[in-house]
């Protein structure tokens, strides 16, 4: 039974080229989608294709994009992380506590924000691995806990960073002239995520667990421990998103965040990562996040009412995932 599963799932070392082609094709498909959307809006509105606007799209992608990077790891294992949205909020609130309330140095506050993200991931991982809660439930619970704690800790008030010198430059500054740091951080984070997913044990085990958890365990991998590691990695990205969000708004807004997790998950799925696990690419996620932001931006530039914007995004998600299923069907 186990042997057949292993062969069927495509982890078989005899078919490496086929596997590689498959991923490339998916990325190509998502990228083509992005190009089509870009082309469409460029023709539809004279104001769309303009560096200022592209910068706006990239900036709008940054926060959800960073969250989506983390979510990719969890989804690769066949899990789901619903806590990234409000978890991000908790991280930005805690960054506010560290920097604005306690007056800690900038570096300490930022690392503190990341640490809170890691802690959220650790708890998610422990609950999934050792308490054997389904990921949906474990992270749903964390989503609520994080939302509640954000409100409690902040006293339901935003925390402002006006007195923290340089904090707003984290997102708004331009190390590379013309490119806001928030976007640079997103790209660097994506590069790191890509390396971790494809070149390290964490990434390989994530994909392997997602493709066949039983087989992975039999081959001697401590699946539970590695799942915890994977959730911690996801949490770190949540923390980073929280810090970037706080910096861009120059304040920690305890009421925001709910619903962002769904946008992140949508970006991951559009990028070709399978919700069933075992198949994930970071480039895909980046493209998925860009598609979401480009679509919203373009529709807004065309003054399409917001109600319809959501309909359009929903349809794109269906199309993207259906294209993926069609292609897989041919493959199998």
């Amino acid at each position: 039974m186990t042997t057949t599963k292993r062969t069927a799932k495509g982890t078989n070392p005899k078919r490496p080229t086929r596997f590689g082609n498959r991923q490339q094709l998916q990325q190509l498909l998502a990228f083509a989608g992005l190009v089509v959307i870009f082309g469409f809006f460029s023709l539809a509105s004279p104001y769309f294709l303009d560096w200022a606007n592209v910068k706006g799209i990239l900036l709008a992608t940054a926060v959800t994009g960073i969250m989506a990077l983390g979510a990719t790891f969890v989804i690769a294992t066949g899990g789901i992380d619903l806590s990234v949205g409000t978890g991000m909020t908790l991280c930005s609130v805690m960054t506010g506590v560290f920097l604005a309330n306690l007056g800690l140095p900038l570096v300490v506050g930022v690392l503190g924000g990341l640490a809170v993200g890691a802690l959220i991931g650790l708890l998610n991982g422990l609950n999934v691995s050792y308490l054997r809660l389904p990921p949906f439930i474990a992270t749903l619970a964390m989503m609520m806990v994080a939302q509640g704690l954000s409100l409690v800790i902040s006293g339901t008030k935003p925390i402002y960073f006006s007195d923290v010198a340089g904090f707003d430059q984290l997102a708004a500054g331009e190390l590379i002239p013309g490119l806001p740091n928030a976007v640079l951080i997103f790209f660097v984070a994506a590069a790191i995520a890509a390396v971790v997913l494809s070149k390290t044990l964490t990434g390989r085990y994530a994909l392997s667990i997602g493709s066949n958890e039983e087989a992975t365990a039999i081959s001697g991998v401590d699946v539970r421990r590695w799942k915890v590691v994977i959730y911690v990695v996801a949490g770190l990205f949540t923390g980073l998103a929280g810090v970037v969000m706080a910096s861009r708004l120059n304040s920690a807004q305890p009421g925001l965040g709910l619903g962002y997790e769904l946008e992140a998950i949508a970006a991951v799925v559009i990028g070709g990562t399978s919700l069933r696990g075992g198949k994930a690419t970071i480039l895909g996620t980046v493209i998925g996040a860009l598609i979401m932001a480009t679509l919203t931006n373009g529709l807004r530039i065309m003054s399409i009412p917001q109600e319809w914007q959501k309909v359009a995004v929903g349809i794109v998600i269906v199309l993207a995932v259906y294209a993926d299923i069609l292609r897989r069907g041919k493959d199998a």
Binding site: D50, N53, G56, L126, V145, I153, G155, T156, G255, L256
Partner: protein, 332 residues
């Protein structure tokens, strides 16, 4: 196997312990925060239950403050609760039901959806519990009075200042909610005024972004991109207005655009002080909370009340932001 299961148990225990510590922390913080309602109407004091539209938003906290002030002054007991976001109609109805079940002497209610609450309004009436509507009206004969800001007049005032400052040309609106009465009136009063009194001004676009700062910023940027010659933007609540300011900053158009906002909050008052925003309309949330409790007490004592109690609004800008009566109603 034996080793494995002890290990599993140990890790399960660790995870369970960590989770419960977090839960306890949350509870402890809740307790010390002192925001948790208090006792139900068991004592001798009359008990007024307030169900608001929101909770963590600064505006609602200011309403709560006014209600608490009145409670202390008139020696009544007041509880205040509301859903986390202003779209959770169902959750709010549950809160209203719970409030009714506590058998209060009067109820203050800010309906998210006035139609949906009619059965409960009837229930309150049949049990002789007077209902005071606040913030927005309820389509029902039951409420003895409505304490609210005249949103049409308030947004017309915003339009008047926009017209004076801009003179002529294109302007746009970033709204916060196209489904609630308040959200609609904030746009309607503004649009109406411009149509009737400022023929040289054209409203080229109205986009809604749920009062989310990031999304409002992205929406405003898209509008700016599509209309490079735009001369002014009006944001219909705190989140929308701050988002507009963010967009103007990020596109480097500070000072070239007239931004008018609504409500307050530190980010908005800072923007007005720094000249990024021309001015804003503030409601008087403290008075709203105060008048609601005062009307409730009057209703309990069987006094006659006016059908509508206006809780007032003010225009504020750089010149009067520090005036005593303005500063008193602005919240951080």
């Amino acid at each position: 196997m034996n080793v494995n299961s002890t290990k599993r148990r140990r890790f399960a225990a660790v995870a369970a312990a960590t989770t419960s510590v977090v839960a306890m922390l949350a509870l402890a913080a809740c307790g010390s925060g002192g925001s948790g309602g208090g006792e139900t109407g068991a004592g001798d004091k009359p008990y007024v239950a307030l169900v608001s539209k929101g909770f963590q938003h600064q505006f609602w906290q200011a309403v709560k403050q006014g209600a608490d002030d009145a409670a202390a002054e008139l020696d009544v007991e007041v509880t205040f609760e509301g859903p986390e976001t202003e779209t959770e109609v169902e959750k709010q109805l549950t809160m209203l039901q719970t409030a009714l079940d506590k058998n209060p002497d009067a109820i203050g209610y800010a309906a998210l959806d006035s139609e949906a609450s009619i059965p409960m309004m009837t229930d309150a009436e049949s049990r002789g519990i007077p209902v005071i509507a606040f913030d927005s009206g309820v389509d029902s004969e039951v409420p003895v009075t409505t304490v609210s800001t005249d949103n049409l007049a308030a947004s017309a005032e915003a339009a008047k200042h926009m017209a004076e400052l801009v003179g002529s040309g294109k302007i746009a609106i970033v709204g916060h909610d196209q489904t609630s009465q308040t959200g609609q009136q904030r746009v309607e009063g503004f649009t109406q005024y411009i149509l009737e009194n400022a023929p040289d001004i054209e409203i080229v676009d109205t986009q809604y972004a749920a009062g989310d700062q990031l999304k409002s910023a992205d929406a405003a940027k898209a509008i700016l991109q599509a209309h490079p010659d735009l001369k002014g933007i009006y944001g219909t609540n705190e989140g929308s207005a701050i988002g507009v300011v963010k967009a103007v900053q990020e596109t480097g158009k500070s000072g070239k655009l007239t931004v008018i906002g609504f409500d307050s909050g530190k980010a908005q008052t800072d923007a007005i002080r720094d000249g990024l925003m021309a001015g804003a309309i503030t409601q008087d949330p403290i008075k709203m909370g105060y008048e609601t409790v005062k009307a409730a007490v009057a209703a309990i004592n069987g006094e006659e009340l006016e059908p509508v109690i206006d809780s007032g609004f003010y225009w504020y800008d750089k010149t009067n932001i520090d005036d005593e009566d303005i500063a008193a109603v602005l919240y951080e």
